[in-house]
Symmetry: C2
Subunit: 158 residues, 2 copies
DNA sequence: TATTGTTATACTCTATAACTATA
DNA sequence: TATAGTTATAGAGTATAACAATA
């Protein structure tokens, strides 16, 4: 009767729920990304590194808030990045409690490599969906995030 | 210069990558869903239970493939659902290796409760984005998944 | 030979609570 | 009092490898 998936299972009203479809889309996208990029870097870490590159000198806690992580979760992530030589913790001007997080040049290189991988995936998706739809999709994805942040569903603790 | 997020951080070209935006969207959606639904059930489990409801009597392995999980990962999930009284493992007609997975009536009730919660979230998103955009977003989300499954990026092992 | 369910095991990601040093 | 970073700890969620039963 209804829609079936790639394995012949009945999806019923599953495809009518944004939460579920979003989850499925993200799972597929992460698998595709890790197939293309042979780095050990997850999309989650990719996001954090890009955020640091675009905002050098931020506090760990600010970065954590931006990606919806607890600040304690950020500690082992930064430890790992520092050990790999991708980021540096520097003194934060005017606040001796805080660290200013920056990318090293090797971190910048890594981000650029990952961006290239991401672009490969984008190219494949664009080829399959068409450029107009792909762009439209990205636009709506951003509006969807705005909608969630605007509602009281997700806290925007500053 | 560029776009900034809710916390004032520069996003740079981050918003131009589907993988990243999808990830962020999904994180926000899961937080919103768990704020609305006070069940202990994650969107991931919600998806699995709905799939079982729509496809009663499937093998564990088929369900696992459909949601992109290893079949060994499915074992503790089904154990948990069985202990909670949501699903039953029954003999699979014609294959004595397999189990036929079905929802109990209490499992059906749970799924209906979760669907109600999901609809609440949909209503809030629709109010913020507008119905047309929300529907368009869902359509494109499905096409995006198709694009990934169609490409060789994600294995469709049968 | 291949598949189904399972076990044992380990790895990743994340959060909570409590501590310290600053602010 | 509140915030930044940290530690210790615990809980999800997931995968790999190997096994027995069955196809």
């Amino acid at each position: 009767m209804g829609t079936t998936d790639a394995f012949g299972l009945e999806l019923g009203n599953l495809p009518d729920m944004l939460t579920i479809e979003l989850r499925m889309g993200q799972i597929l996208a992460e698998k595709a990304f890790s197939t293309i990029s042979h780095t050990q870097v997850s999309p989650g870490l990719f996001m954090i590194l890009t955020l640091i590159r675009n905002n050098p000198g931020q506090k760990q806690a600010s970065l954590a808030r931006s990606v919806q992580l607890d600040r304690s979760t950020m500690v082992p992530i930064m430890d790992h990045c520092e050990r790999q030589g991708w980021v540096q913790r520097q003194p934060f001007p005017g606040d001796r409690r805080a660290h200013a997080i920056c990318l090293t040049s090797s971190g910048v290189e890594l981000v650029e490599k990952l961006e290239q991988d991401a672009r490969k995936l984008e190219t494949q998706v664009t080829a399959a969906m068409g450029k107009q739809k792909r762009d439209q999709f990205l636009t709506l994805l951003k509006e969807f995030q705005q909608a969630l942040l605007a509602g009281s569903q997700v806290e925007v603790s500053s």
